[in-house]
Amino acid sequence: MIKAAEAMVKCLENEGVKVVFGYPGAAICPFYDELTHSDIRHVLVRREDNAGHAANGYARISGKPAVCIATSGPGATNLLTAIATAYADSVPLVCITGQVSTDQIGCDVFQEVDITGAAEPFVKNSYLIKDASQLPRIFKEAFYIAGTGRNGPVLIDVPVDIQQTMIDFQYPEKVELRTYKPTVKGNSFQIKKVCEALKISERPLICAGGGVISAKACDELRALAEKTRIPVVSTMMGLGIFPSAHPLYMGMLGMHGVRTANEAVSKCDTMILIGARVGDRAVRSPKFLAETTKIIHIDVDPAEIGKNMHVDIPLVGDCKHILQELTEKLGSAERADWLAELSEVKNTVPKEDETEGYVNPKMFIRKLSAKLSENTICVADVGQNQIWTCNNFQFKGGRFLTSGGMGTMGYSVPAAVGAKFASPDSEVVAICGDGSFQMQMMELATIVQEKIPVKIILMRNNRLGMVRELQTNLYKDNQTAIHIADGNPDFVALAEAYGIRAERVCTMAEAEAAIEHLCSSKEPYLLECNVWRNESTL
């Protein structure tokens, strides 16, 4: 017999967990007490949502469910935004929260909140453990559910008295769930229909989403596209699947996408959506698109197919398997005219102007990405900095992380910390704005304490720039609640106060020199770029 708290640690060890991110509190103390006897490394963040974002970055890079921990009440509610962020981007998390003692549940005692109830709309599944003997089974199920099918966060709420209960521990070898059996193999009849549709299509287009990355099917997608010469656009979550310079790659589509990608979407006769959920920012008028284009939708989640757009050929399954099968079945093609038409648009590079005394963020990101090594992990925050990064970062084979679905500001720095733990040899760069940085700047402490050399680019325009642009365009330039200059600290001095090397640059020439410093530094580093207040998003 062992304490259930010790069993929790053993469950994590059995799942191969090496690093967890969390913040302790009274209701989770028995678990923390036992964690000290394990080799699992605990990373202490400075606010619970950042534990969730760090686990998010870790999970996306490692390709396995990652663990974050918080205490009951406010610890758990702080975690909510991170859970919702992971849910929106289908990231596998196992979130562990402490809960007040079972005999006190429902009495509104200190730091009590119904967290399984609160998180219900954005978890893949959740558990409130009331019987300690069920704990090993629940942990096994949680990891399995989080990391299979369409990935997502699973919450386990463990009352403090349950953690103290003695149980017989045996970690189950397999999961027995009669209700949950994700489809892996695609239906052969549907695959045949897809092949037939692609054979007769003259202007087919692949739209690749984050699901391709979750399924670890980037190579399979590239093999299919290269054999059949079908051009590819990506959603924001699909950025990085194709190298930016690949001749078949036409960029990110949608509201904030590039012209080439959007022209490809409007001109194609058949569109194959793969692991993409027809989000409103990616496909603004799905009804119109479906009327003019034959739509093939491949997704592991049947509920996504037909949710936002009429689909001609639905195909449910794991896209790794499906793409392999399609590549085998489809013959090679040329499509010279269709590709030439798109390449013409792609090769017209927009001219960027420099404004005196400022760093042009678009030029800067292009230059930065050219200097960074191939396996760099780039994490963009939310706002103008995100779109500048999406459209100008030259992906060469590394990874791109961002909060695409939820658009959670304050994601980049903690997610970068998690990514660096998952891949210590990769360069990890977080790009954020002065607005989003201030939602996460407490994590500088985590970076310093854990000696995690992530690099931070801070685009300071003294505005909440995305909202400023919205107000300019749609609200008669009535700029309100977006001015942050008067409160902005000296970011360089702030970073230095934490012991992090930092620089401020105001011209492209200075920025280029700083990029060299950033790339050569083995330590954490913060670069503040002075950006013109009215710089446009696109």
């Binding site: 399984t116 109830g117 709309p121 409130l128 009331k130 559910i145 209700t179 949950y180 509920a303």
Partner: protein, 163 residues
């Protein structure tokens, strides 16, 4: 259009709130919801009558299937459906009216389950349409209280939810 959806779920705590939460979250209106355990004590059966077009119902089925606790979802077509609802009605009834009410109950297949000096309590179980007719017939006496269970339904013939 009204749809009758039958759902088999694991008989766990919190399952019902997941299902009802899903309906409100996705903007579906529930007319009635009834739940009870099946022959297998680990499995509950939920019957929901909801309003919506074909696309809505298809989405609803898919979203219900995504819940880890869901075993089976089936929208029962009106042709193959045997719907039933139980209703308890307390009406005003003085001793002179009792005979008349008894006749209505006999014709409509209702039972008298309780009686007091000036009220009667009636029980009827039938299709929602039949219940409506009965309610109209009994209304003139003065309805004091009505309770209904919500519709439950099973398929006609040998088919079951599993097939």
């Amino acid at each position: 259009m009204k749809h009758t959806i039958s759902i088999l779920v694991e008989n766990h705590a919190g399952v019902l709130s997941r299902i009802s939460g899903l309906f409100s979250r996705r903007g579906f209106n529930i007319d009635s919801l009834a739940v009870g355990r099946t022959d297998d004590p680990e499995i509950s059966r939920v019957t929901i009558v909801a309003d919506g077009d074909e696309h809505t119902v298809e989405q609803l089925e898919k979203q219900l299937n995504k819940l880890i606790d869901t075993i089976k979802v089936k929208t029962l077509s009106h042709k193959e459906l045997l719907p039933r609802e139980l209703q308890l009605i307390k009406i005003n009834a003085n001793p002179q009216q009792r005979g008349e009410i008894l006749t209505v109950c006999e014709i409509m297949g209702a039972k008298i389950v309780d009686i007091s000096a000036n009220t009667m309590t009636l029980e009827i179980s039938d299709t929602p349409a039949h219940l409506m007719r009965f309610e109209e017939l009994i209304r003139p006496y003065g309805i004091k209280e009505i309770v209904r269970t919500g519709v439950i339904a099973i398929q006609k013939g040998s088919d079951t939810i599993k097939k």
